[in-house]
Symmetry: C2
Subunit: 476 residues, 2 copies
Amino acid sequence: MITSERRVNEKTVDVAIIGSGTAGLNVMGQVRRARKSFVLINDGETGTTCARVGCMPSKAMIQVAEDFHRRAHLGRYGIAGHEDLTLDLPEALEHVQNLRDIFVDRVLEHSTDKLGEEFIEGYARFIEPTLLEVEGQRIRAGRVVIATGSRPLVPEPWRAFGDRIITTDELFEYENLPAAIGVIGLGTIGLELGQSLHRLGISVTGFDQIDTIGGIQDPEVARTAIDILGREFPLHLGRPADIEAAGEQLKVTAGEHSVRVDKVLCSIGRVPNVENLGLENLGVALDEHGMPPFNLNTMQIADLPVYLAGDVTGERMILHEAGDDGRIAGYNAAHDETTAFRRKTPIMINFCDPNICAVGRRWDEIDQGSTAVGEIRFGPVGRALIMGKNKGVLRVYGDRQSGRLLGAEMIGPACEHLAHLLCWCIEQRLGVADLLRMPFYHPVIEEALQAALYDLYRKVETKNEGGLVELERLPV
Amino acid sequence: MITSERRVNEKTVDVAIIGSGTAGLNVMGQVRRARKSFVLINDGETGTTCARVGCMPSKAMIQVAEDFHRRAHLGRYGIAGHEDLTLDLPEALEHVQNLRDIFVDRVLEHSTDKLGEEFIEGYARFIEPTLLEVEGQRIRAGRVVIATGSRPLVPEPWRAFGDRIITTDELFEYENLPAAIGVIGLGTIGLELGQSLHRLGISVTGFDQIDTIGGIQDPEVARTAIDILGREFPLHLGRPADIEAAGEQLKVTAGEHSVRVDKVLCSIGRVPNVENLGLENLGVALDEHGMPPFNLNTMQIADLPVYLAGDVTGERMILHEAGDDGRIAGYNAAHDETTAFRRKTPIMINFCDPNICAVGRRWDEIDQGSTAVGEIRFGPVGRALIMGKNKGVLRVYGDRQSGRLLGAEMIGPACEHLAHLLCWCIEQRLGVADLLRMPFYHPVIEEALQAALYDLYRKVETKNEGGLVELERLPV
């Protein structure tokens, strides 16, 4: 019998949560609400990927870089002296680190710091689906949630270059940065940081083996984005990058392009932290990445009392989705019946300047035959012109027959806000005519969206009756 | 018989449109679509209030002022030399004027320039409801739309001070501006321009006889706004301002406060242009302002074949509403049956920094007893902190029983975008729980709205079933 086999230092809880990042903390919130007993197990630094090495420090760096970059506009306005503005890089980095520390402290303050025995420091390993071992201690849990997060992927051979290869884990730790940095991998992280480092005065060269940047799938948006960003710093796309030592430096080569840099920021992706969890003891088949099958609506692994949440899933690696993962996994881990929840309309924001965003269905997911595309270029958009940020393109996808909104991809000013607006409308299953009835103030960037919607409306089959698409008739 | 009385130079058309601003041009659009004959009558400068003296030049001035003002932040980031930035005011004003000219040209290009005989220059006067006289010519129209716009209100006694009293009609014409300007009237126009002029280096003193600024009604938002803006330049509220000559200058006095200025920007309001239209010949009773009664859903005056559109109504004096006015009036003027249209959820954006906005029902329109208020201060909001713009407050009103969103007032960063988001949700009659199920990316200013919504949700009676307000259960 299991009971008689229990060792002295075996602890029994309703729920064991492995990982105290955003997902794990949200799991804990649900478990506490349901008044279940739990342990929160974490190895290494606490404070969430977001606050420590992700969203927050990157946005702080982007803000400084953008403010410094903005000096180029000042001359057009009659503001003199902008040529003499200089940036002290260590001071800028310190500012970023100070802000980062504020955000990390804030996370800790509300989470693990106040836990007593419920917090266990150490690396957890499955013995059975509901039996864990942490630093010699055994924990028997009714349910287990795995929220161990992810880490930057660095190809094994590149590790030989030591600290000349850095990732986001190290970038925000430096007191100064060298003159030349290669950025390999131009997804959201590489693009945001590459552009910022360039604007902070570092000579940045970007590489990606695919032909697009920032996760864009729409070919027209990709072309525009590569043109806009490529004017700021060189982007070498479509060829894998190779690194070799060159004295104290590194030589990065992709196709015929070669550049010497002091460091390489490796931003080719993130991998789930699953290796040493003993997932093989769950008794389910693991895929080639060592991942068990799970359901995105329940977060349950197969039919086990074990759940995944957050980056460790390898899907939707962004904070608000990690939060939802945690809520769903936590809710189900704390309740006897398994509940399936609808996942939110996807939204992706790349905070480079101009913003690159995507919402709803992506270009590769839409059926070209049955989809109409509304397009607007930001060039003539009044407010964008006033802001001196009138570069970009916005493409909105709608069902050609019904006019229902499906998705959008875009690069342009203030697109982080347009993305929310569109995403919320897609969540509500609205059609293009519904949106054209909404108020668009003047002069705002939202008017670019309005223009794209008019373009889309012209191309869909279902037209508004009565002649005024912008206004709803009152019942007679 | 009327026909036999027609004079030789009497012209007959289906629709006569008086005024070629935003409203009038939208009327023309509808009339053309219905293939009706028309004349567009305009006296004086064409090009819309918005493009010539309103939204567009003011936003251009705000942008320059904001960029120059931003220099104060740069020191915190390790950017040196910001203390030496200087502004050449004539050059900045020229930039504003150049942009203004682009926008005015663009309006003209798409409107009156291409009209031939359909455009009549001159001042129209009603002889009868469907008979107009313009510079000696008579026009017999099936329907008439009055879209004559508005002009800045200047009290008669102040006219004696000549060009020391200016309005938005003159402000954007100057090649330079004097050292000290008093701004009387701190509604949207006075506040936007007062702050901009201050940031451009002019010594600005603001006055308003009421106790709030920027059209705010919510006392908490008003208090915060007065505190934020009042730290930039002096605001004297609650006492009417009096002007007297002081040598070449003017002395403005309100209560115990007195200041000498070179010019006064008079921004106490705008009045409809109706005086010389001969509205007394419409045969309907006019109110004390000389305005006839009209219906905001049809834009029809009483039961006459005469319509109002745009600022001349004295209501909703903003571009997108003027556009709707014009569409409704034009549609009805071009169709035999009168159609009533639902008007949009109100949205007000004051583009001062931080933005002041209001959507839906205003504080004075909500029933305090049945309304719950969700509130967030921008102080700790992550992204706002990163932007160095974490001042402000957002207050969202919801029905205490049902949780349905009613309105919001706010001052804070990027609130122009939050206002759109909220306004579109109110248009769709959503409740606070519906909004909490929407995706909020991270780190974005929209998260401030999320926090205000959580606060509101705690205070309303209708809670989401199932425990997870952020997620919708899938049907079993």
